[in-house]
């Protein structure tokens, strides 16, 4: 997909995020918007789906941003509009956090932080053991890396040279109740992951070209961590870098204003 097309993909994801949030009255709009460009790049330019049985795997470990994934899968045509219409509806199929058995393309159930990352390591190991070229990508939140399970996996993965595993950190610098550095800092993030034996790259998480270059770059026999600098609520000016948009719901008026910006 060209840069223009990826930008359009990201815009469509953002519009769908706002629509889904408006319709459901659910939170985490800012968290979903911050990773829209990462998902557009992955689904537009990186992930291989043909043949489906040997596809690359994307795991949304920060599953509170599920609307971003549902939107990407819908734009990509992997889930149907009917499935999407049932998001958070009584009798619908798609819950606010992820259920692997709910729809195609949901590669891992998630919702509690610090799970998808480790499941992804297991999948990467399994693919390598089978001699499969399938790759695994897992998107983690910055706050999510305060989970102990993340660091268990961080220690483990280099031991086994899992270079078919790429973690991407959505570093939007706002977790549930403040800035990470004010709560439980994981800085210096690059030095930490490098010292654990990971190949680390830092990139602007809203620059599709830079993201694609970093993700598609060579691996050196190590698992990779791509630290993607992002802005929570990106794309809707009054949501950007605002903690409240971890929780606030999208009213009719908010929807109207947001959609004008995302037109």
């Amino acid at each position: 997909m060209s840069e223009l097309a990826t930008a359009e993909f990201a815009r469509m994801i953002r519009r769908e995020i706002v629509e889904l949030a408006h319709r459901s009255g659910g939170p985490h709009v800012g968290s979903a918007l911050s990773c829209a460009d990462i998902l557009a790049t992955l689904y537009g330019e990186i992930l291989r789906f043909d043949p489906w049985e040997e596809r690359d795997i994307f795991i949304l470990s920060k599953a509170h941003a599920a609307t971003a994934l549902y939107a990407a899968l819908a734009v990509k045509g992997i889930i149907t509009p009917e499935l999407l219409a049932g998001y958070c509806k009584n009798g619908g199929k798609l819950p606010a956090h992820l259920d692997r058995l709910s729809a195609p393309g949901i590669e891992c159930s998630a919702g509690s932080l610090g799970h998808g990352f480790n499941v992804g390591l297991g999948m990467a190991f399994g693919f390598k053991r089978k001699g499969s070229a399938q790759r695994v990508f897992a998107l983690v939140g910055d706050g999510e890396t305060q989970e102990g399970s993340i660091w268990e996996g961080a220690l483990f993965a280099p031991q086994h040279g899992l270079d078919n595993f790429t973690a991407i950190m959505d570093y939007n610098n706002l977790q549930g109740y403040g800035r990470p550095r004010e709560i439980c800092s994981f800085e210096p993030v690059i030095a930490k992951w490098e010292s654990f034996g990971w190949q680390v790259a830092a990139v602007d998480g809203h620059d599709h070209q830079a993201l694609a270059a970093a993700i598609a770059g060579p691996t050196a026999g190590k698992p990779r961590m791509i630290v993607a600098g992002t802005v929570k609520g990106k794309g809707v000016s009054f949501m950007e870098d605002q903690l409240i948009w971890h929780y606030y719901i999208v009213t009719d008026e908010i929807r109207e204003r947001a959609m004008q910006e995302l037109a």
């Binding site: 590669e107 159930s109 799970h115 499941v119 297991g122 399994g126």
Partner: protein
């Protein structure tokens, strides 16, 4: 029973590329042969239980049959949420082999006991739970787990358990009658079997006819088969090295409330308390009235109450 269980799995793994064993840095010696003969089928995951359980789920999602090995608290408690969300909620056929059932490890302390694991397992509705009483049941449990298309938790003691069965067990999924009797039925699972067998012998000496039933598959419990088997006995007693309020005893209370049978139910297990007392396994059994002599005495008392 532990080695019989693991060795049965390893033997089945010969010629099977999908079978892989994960250990949480536990089981010294148990996997030596496997590590020598098939090093690619064993991974020591280190002391990192959350990663191990999530990793096991991921491996299973790539078509592997995964055996996860650890002592029970580190298999089921430390990483409960990974077992719940990653393995069970996703319906993955991971085999969880837990060592040190009940108070096997006494006097190692509460951190190493597993007297609430059945209660915890009961919160995961698709998890099959097998608590073998001897090596014969352990073998059958391994065979069941290998062919299962759902998660299976096997609750094992360790070594040196008394042999209860004299012939092979063909169906581990149903209660197994060890001997018939008409006055009362003693139901048990796991390594407490040796105390139950000895208690039954004492009762028989006093002219009491005892039916003995091993219930290896605690979850899901084959309730119909069990109720049929119990038939006209007047008194049913569950005996387990587990909290009596969240194990087989409480499952039987459920059965009794549903089936409205003619028998009375009494439970023998570990009371609602943390264990601060320092004794070996035999000593703790005596402390909690789970040794053969006290079990026989209790059963006589309950029969006399009628």
């Amino acid at each position: 029973m532990r080695n019989r269980f693991i060795d049965t799995l390893i033997a089945a793994g010969e010629g099977r590329d999908d079978l892989i064993f994960l250990s949480g840095d536990a089981g010294l010696g148990v996997f030596d042969g496997l590590r020598r003969d098939a090093p690619g089928s064993f991974v020591n995951m280190g002391v990192a239980e959350q990663n191990m359980a999530g990793f096991a789920a991921g491996l299973a999602m790539t078509g592997h049959k995964v055996v996860m090995y650890n002592i029970i608290p580190f298999l089921l408690y430390r990483c409960y949420e990974q077992v719940r969300n990653d393995i069970c909620y996703q319906g993955l056929p991971v085999i969880m082999a837990g060592i040190g059932s009940g108070i096997t490890y006494a006097p190692q302390g509460m951190s190493h006991y597993s007297i609430e694991d059945l209660g915890i397992a009961a919160t995961m509705p698709n998890l099959a739970v097998i608590s073998p009483c001897d090596a014969t049941e352990a073998r059958a449990a391994a065979e069941y787990a290998l062919s299962a298309d759902q998660p299976v938790y096997v609750r094992l003691a360790k070594r040196g358990e008394q042999a209860i069965h004299t012939s092979a067990v063909t169906d581990i999924s149903t209660p197994l009658k060890i001997c018939s009797g008409s006055d009362c039925a003693l139901l048990f699972h796991g390594s407490i079997a040796e105390e139950v067998m000895a208690a039954a012998a004492l009762l028989e000496e006093d002219g009491i006819s005892v039916m003995l039933i091993s219930v290896p598959m605690v979850q899901p419990l084959n309730e119909d088969a069990l109720v049929d088997m119990l038939g006209p006995v007047r008194l049913v007693v569950t005996v387990e090295e587990h909290y009596e309020h969240s194990g087989l005893g409480s499952s039987l209370l459920w059965v009794k409330s549903e089936a409205d049978p003619g028998w009375r139910l009494k439970t023998a297990g570990i009371p609602r308390q943390f264990i601060h007392e320092v004794y070996d396994c035999k000593g703790l059994r005596r402390l909690f009235g789970l040794d053969a002599v006290q079990l026989a005495r209790k059963v006589k008392g309950w029969l006399a109450d009628e």
